[in-house]
C-alpha cells in the first residue's frame, strides 16, 4: 500500500474529514480524507485503488472494531462521514465507469411504516463498504420495490420495518418480489424482526445490525 493510501485509510478509520477539522486531536493540522484523495488523484493513483485501498480498507477496520464491540455506532458514522466527503471527488469516475461499486442494493421501509433512521444507517454503512444503495424511502409497497429492482437490474433488496404490525406487510412484499422477479435476494431487518420471522415469510436473510448485512453482501455477492 502506498504511503498516501495508507494515510487516507487512516483518515477514514479515524474520521478525519479535512485539514481544517479539529478532529481527531492527535491529527490536528494534518491533511484529511479530502486533501489526500485530491493528492492521490493528482499524482495519478487509480481511482479504483483510492476506493479499495484508501476508503474501503479504512471502513473495513471500522466495521471490524464495531463488530468486536470496540467502538460504537457514532464512531462508524464519523468515519462514514469522512469517507462520504472524500467520495464526492470520485463521483466522476463512477459516472465514467472507471471505477465500479461492488453492486447495487435497493432499500426501503415497508408500506405503512414511516420510520427511516435504521434504514438510513444501514444505507450509510453499505455505502461505506463500497455498495451503491438505491434508497426508496419510507412507506414503500411491493410494486415500487419491483419497479426499482427492474429499473436498476439489482440482485439484492433490503426491507426495513420497526413495528410488529408493519413487519407483517413484509410477507406480501417478499411474496410479490419473489414471484415477479428472478434471482433477487430479499433480506430484512428492523427492531421486531427475527430470523424465525424471516424464515416464515421466505425472506433470504435477516440482520439485526448493518455490519451483518455488509458482511453478508461482501461474502455472498461481491464481484
Amino acid at each position: 500500500m502506498s504511503e498516501i493510501l495508507q494515510q487516507l485509510s487512516l483518515c477514514i478509520e479515524k474520521g478525519r474529514v479535512n485539514k481544517d477539522s479539529n478532529y481527531p486531536a492527535d491529527m490536528k493540522g494534518m491533511p484529511g480524507a479530502v486533501e489526500l484523495t485530491q493528492q492521490a488523484l493528482s499524482e495519478g493513483t487509480l481511482a479504483q485503488d483510492i476506493l479499495n485501498i484508501g476508503f474501503l480498507s479504512g471502513m473495513k477496520i471500522v466495521g471490524d472494531k464495531f463488530k468486536d464491540g470496540k467502538i460504537f455506532l457514532p464512531e462508524v458514522l464519523i468515519s462514514a462521514r469522512a469517507m462520504s466527503s472524500a467520495m464526492e471527488l470520485l463521483k466522476p469516475y463512477f459516472q465514467s465507469g472507471e471505477i465500479n461499486y461492488k453492486g447495487k442494493v435497493i432499500m426501503g421501509t415497508v408500506a405503512g411504516d414511516l420510520h427511516d433512521i435504521g434504514k438510513n444507517i444501514v444505507k450509510m454503512v453499505l455505502e461505506g463498504g463500497g455498495w451503491q444503495v438505491v434508497d426508496l424511502g419510507i412507506n414503500v409497497n411491493a410494486e415500487k420495490f419491483i419497479d426499482a429492482i427492474n429499473t436498476n437490474s439489482a440482485k439484492v433488496v433490503g426491507l426495513s420495518a420497526l413495528l410488529t404490525t408493519t413487519m407483517q406487510n413484509m410477507n406480501e412484499i417478499v411474496r410479490k418480489i419473489k414471484s415477479e422477479t428472478k434471482d433477487v435476494l430479499v433480506v430484512i431487518g428492523g427492531a421486531p424482526v427475527t430470523k424465525a420471522f424471516a424464515d416464515s415469510i421466505n425472506a433470504d436473510e435477516y440482520f439485526h445490525d448493518p455490519q451483518g448485512m455488509l458482511d453478508y453482501l461482501n461474502n455472498k455477492m461481491s464481484k
Binding site: P74, E75, I78, G112, T164
Partner: protein, 239 residues
C-alpha cells in the same frame, strides 16, 4: 388529582411539562451511547452539546393519564377488558397486572418538530446529527413518561393506592395492534397523539402504556430477563 377522589369514577388528566422538568443531562446521553466522559469522541460530544442547547425549542412535552372506574375493568386469562374492549397483553404483563383493582393509561409525547429536525440532517448527509437527535428524542419521551408515571404514583399514593410498572403495546410479547383499543378509550388527539391504521403513534416520539392500580400491586425490577425479545430498546435502557 384531588386526594378526596376515590376510584368510583374514571379520572383523566392532561399536563404540559416545561422542558426544565424533564431535561436530559449530557452525561446521561453519553452513557446511553456506550461511552463515558473519557472515551466519548469529540464530534459526538460537540453534537450532543448542540442538540441539548437547541432541544427546548424543538419539543412540546405533553403527558396525560386516564384511570378507569374499577367497575369497567376485568382481568382474567392473560388479558384485561375495559368497557368491553379486550387487551390481549400476554402472560408477562398479566402476571404483573393481575392484582390490580383498575387500569390506567398513560400517554406522553414530545411533538412532531423534533422528527423533522432529525430528518433535515439525515437528508443533508449529516447522519451523525440526525441519529443523535433521534436517540436524544427517544430518551426524552421515555423520561417524560417516567416523570408522568412518578406523578401518577404520587397522586394515587394520596388515596393509598399503588401502581405496577408501565407496559406498552408492542413490548413484552404484547401486540402493538392493541394500540387501536387503547386509543379508542381516550379522547381524540389526547396529548396531541393519534394512532394510524398500522398502530403507529403520530408523532412518532410518543409513548403509550398501561399501568395497574390497586392496594396489592407492586413495582418490580423491569422484567427483561423473562422476555424473549433480544433486540429491544427497553433492554438497552435497563442494562
Amino acid at each position: 388529582m384531588d386526594s378526596t377522589i376515590s376510584l368510583k369514577q374514571s379520572i383523566i388528566e392532561e399536563i404540559e411539562f416545561n422542558y426544565e422538568n424533564c431535561a436530559i443531562s449530557e452525561n446521561h446521553i453519553i452513557e446511553l451511547l456506550g461511552y463515558d466522559a473519557d472515551t466519548v469522541p469529540e464530534p459526538v460530544l460537540e453534537t450532543i452539546g448542540f442538540i441539548l442547547n437547541e432541544l427546548p425549542n424543538k419539543v412540546r412535552l405533553q403527558s396525560g393519564y386516564k384511570i378507569f372506574n374499577p367497575k369497567k375493568v376485568k382481568l382474567s386469562g392473560d388479558s384485561f377488558t375495559i368497557d368491553n374492549r379486550t387487551f390481549n397483553c400476554g402472560k408477562i404483563i398479566y402476571s404483573s397486572l393481575k392484582n390490580s383493582e383498575t387500569i390506567g393509561f398513560l400517554i406522553s409525547s414530545i411533538g412532531e418538530e423534533i422528527e423533522n429536525w432529525s430528518k433535515y440532517f439525515m437528508d443533508n448527509n449529516e447522519i451523525l446529527k440526525g441519529y443523535l437527535i433521534d436517540k436524544v428524542a427517544s430518551e426524552l419521551v421515555e423520561q417524560l413518561a417516567d416523570r408522568t408515571e412518578s406523578l401518577l404514583e404520587k397522586e394515587l399514593g394520596k388515596i393509598e393506592l399503588k401502581t405496577t410498572n408501565r407496559y406498552s403495546p408492542g413490548y413484552c410479547g404484547w401486540s402493538v395492534a392493541d394500540q387501536q383499543n387503547l386509543f379508542s378509550l381516550i379522547p381524540e388527539k389526547f396529548c396531541g397523539v393519534s394512532v394510524n391504521d398500522n398502530s403507529m403513534m403520530i408523532p412518532i416520539k410518543s409513548v403509550s402504556a398501561v399501568i395497574g392500580v390497586g392496594k396489592n400491586v407492586e413495582k418490580k425490577n423491569y422484567e427483561c430477563s423473562i422476555c424473549e425479545i433480544d433486540f429491544c430498546y427497553k433492554r438497552d435502557r435497563n442494562v
